[in-house]
């Protein structure tokens, strides 16, 4: 079993007006095979947490720690974090000029496993994963994210997760911009990978809708850079009823 442990994490970004603290001390422990949902209003720091885990250069960790089975994640470069088994499904995946999906997936797999995947097996794996995500195989010849619709970009993120088999995945608002069919397909993908690999999941979302398809073991409510409340999935149901207002009023 693996553990991703975040302790008293404080993160800031540079702004024109100087550094601005976004995360104000986050504690979170995720074990393999667990799903943690992080919910919260816009601007509460949910995405910042995702980027800080992945190591985006724009986010400065001021204090605290992130460890993966005791290894210091913050000391690792971005690619080393992926090699350690972390994966971030991004909210706004960028277009990569001139790189086809097929070439990208194969290069990433090779980088993670240290050797090129066996062609026949790999082609089969890719096709199967794409079929189950209802992605046409013509996607493979398109440039990464270029001209993809919002839904296609999200499927492509989950496709990568399925093929790269991380130990922990952070899903940053993977549900936003998805119609109901795409939401179901993507959720099935997440459940499939979780089951197959005992993957730990940190699911960041605004809405409770995705939680009908992906059952969280824990729900954390994020407000103003901190976890304001924690509970089981019944907390999500309560949020559905009441919204975030009572946290926001309390924090004023």
């Amino acid at each position: 079993m693996s553990v991703l442990e975040i302790k008293d994490l404080k993160v800031s970004i540079e702004t024109d007006a100087g550094p601005k603290q976004i995360l104000k001390g986050v504690d979170l422990t995720i074990n393999s095979d667990q799903i943690h949902a992080i919910m919260g209003p816009n601007g509460s720091g949910k995405s910042t947490l995702a980027y800080a885990i992945a190591g985006h250069p724009r986010y400065n960790v001021d204090s605290g720690s992130i460890t993966l089975d005791g290894e210091d994640v913050l000391e690792m470069e971005v690619d080393e974090r992926a090699q350690a088994g972390l994966f971030l499904a991004m909210q706004y995946p960028v277009e990569i000029p001139g790189v086809t999906v097929s070439n990208f997936l194969r290069t990433a797999k090779t980088a993670l496993t240290g050797e090129a995947p066996k062609i026949r097996e790999w082609v089969g794996d890719v096709r199967e994963a794409m079929d189950s995500l209802r992605m046409d195989s013509s996607f493979q010849e398109r440039n990464v994210n270029e001209g993809f619709s919002g839904g296609e970009k999200k499927r492509h993120e989950i496709l990568q997760m399925e093929l790269l088999r991380p130990r922990f995945a952070v899903l940053d608002e993977t549900d936003s911009g998805l119609d109901i069919d795409a939401l179901r397909v993507v959720s099935e993908g997440v459940n499939r990978v979780k089951q197959a690999n005992k993957m730990g999941v940190l699911l960041i979302t605004h809405y409770t809708r995705i939680l009908r398809y992906i059952q969280p073991d824990f729900v954390h409510v994020f407000v103003d850079g901190r976890i304001a409340e924690e509970g089981g999935r019944e907390l999500a149901d309560r949020l559905e009823e009441e919204g975030y207002d009572r946290y926001l009023n309390a924090s004023v």
Binding site: H56, D79, P97, N103, A108, N143
Partner: protein
């Protein structure tokens, strides 16, 4: 010329002034439409109308052994030796000087009906950055012939070059020019081609080395059903200026033309210029035409200009389009690829090779493609220490 005429902007590409006499051109100032984006300061040696033959120092060593052995070289003595000038008309000062100062053209001729399987490679080596050289080269594919002719340039020189390409009826010709110069070279080249009835020309410009490299290819789809594919790929490093002014003229009926140029840039002062003019003439019914330029900016400190122009003089065509796109490889791209476990070095390689290979693969000559692969490796090594472009607008 009255003052009023002189300052009327030239609207139609085919109406650009032409002359064989250097004295008919004023020294360019950098305000002219065809010089506006060029590094005239560094190209200055090519604007001097001086004797460059039999002056005791040749600027270029021509290794044409393989063409000679196959009997594909034809003697061309003097300016009037046909087919020299059958279609070529200098459009700027360096080209007019090159015309005047090169007495005997290098004339490559593919005999009628003959298909030459092996690529014919002419190796042109510059012998000194301080030497001014001029050349007129004719590549003539006689009716029904098929061949691939490569001009591979290396070394250092200040070189003005005219390349006159004649693709006669039903011939199929590939012309590849590779600029693999040292970085102290300045090179201005005017390629002018005519494609006759049922004939086909694939024209590829590859520029990796050189200080200022300006290769301006122009293809006139003259014959009925004639076809061309015009490709270019360049990589501008710190201090390099890579320029292509591409002109495709659909003159005959039912002609097909496709233009695709890709330029990568990295390092302080790297510069690329692409101007693509397409003219669909009044008689060119049934034309199918497309042109595109794509640029990839790998670091800050570069500049690229991309100017597509399309002029259509008849309404009865199959299709005509033009496009230009410049992408940046910035730190967001780098983050995305690295977050999938791909190292920074590998990420850059993936993007650069992915971008360039589309053109390189069209060359189809193993020895040239492997040389280009080496050049790409050199560029990647040179770029390894450079930070990716900062995010646009950040």
């Amino acid at each position: 010329m009255t003052t009023a005429e002189k300052f009327v902007p030239i609207q139609t590409r085919s109406e650009r002034p032409t002359s064989f006499d250097p004295n008919d051109y004023e020294r360019p100032t950098g305000r002219e439409v065809n010089w506006k984006h060029t590094d005239l300061r560094r190209l200055a040696p090519l604007l001097v109308d001086e004797e460059t033959e039999n002056v005791g120092r040749d600027g270029i060593e021509y290794d044409v052994a393989s063409l000679e052995a196959g009997g594909y070289l034809v003697e061309s003595a003097g300016h009037d030796a046909a087919p020299r000038g059958e279609l070529f008309l200098p459009e700027d000062l360096p080209s007019a000087i090159a015309w005047k100062r090169c007495a005997n053209a290098l004339h490559v001729q593919i005999p009628a009906g003959v298909a030459v399987d092996e690529p014919l490679i002419a190796r042109l080596k510059g012998l000194g950055a301080d030497i001014h050289a001029n050349a007129h080269i004719i590549i003539e594919a006689l009716p029904g012939s098929q061949a691939t002719v490569v001009l591979h340039h290396t070394g250092s020189v200040a070189y003005a070059q005219n390349v006159e390409i004649i693709v006669r009826e039903n011939a199929r010709l590939n012309v590849v020019t590779v600029q693999d110069w040292q970085d102290d070279t300045v090179h201005a080249s005017a390629h002018q081609a005519r494609v006759d009835d049922g004939a086909y020309l694939k024209h590829i410009v590859v520029s990796f080395g050189g200080g200022v490299v300006r290769v301006n290819p122009s293809v006139r789809l003259h014959g009925e059903g004639s076809e061309t594919e015009m490709y270019g790929v360049s990589f501008a490093d710190a201090g390099q200026h890579m320029e292509n002014q591409v002109y495709m003229f659909h003159e005959g009926e039912n002609t097909v033309g496709n233009v695709l140029y890709k330029d990568a840039l990295q390092g302080e002062g790297a510069r690329s210029v692409w101007i693509g003019d397409v003219l669909i003439g009044a008689d060119a019914v049934g034309t199918d035409s497309y042109e595109k330029n794509q640029n990839l900016v790998l670091t800050d400190g570069t500049r690229t200009d991309s100017i597509p122009n399309l002029e259509i003089k008849n309404g009865n065509i199959e299709g005509a389009g033009h496009a230009s796109a410049t992408s940046r490889f910035d730190d967001e791209h780098m983050f995305y690829l690295q977050s999938r476990g791909i190292s920074g070095e590998e990420a850059r390689r993936l993007v650069v090779i992915g971008f360039l290979m589309e053109i390189v693969q069209k060359i189809g000559i193993e020895s040239i493609e492997s040389r280009i692969a080496e050049l790409i490796e050199e560029e990647l090594a040179a770029g390894a220490e450079l930070a990716p472009a900062s995010k646009a607008g950040a």
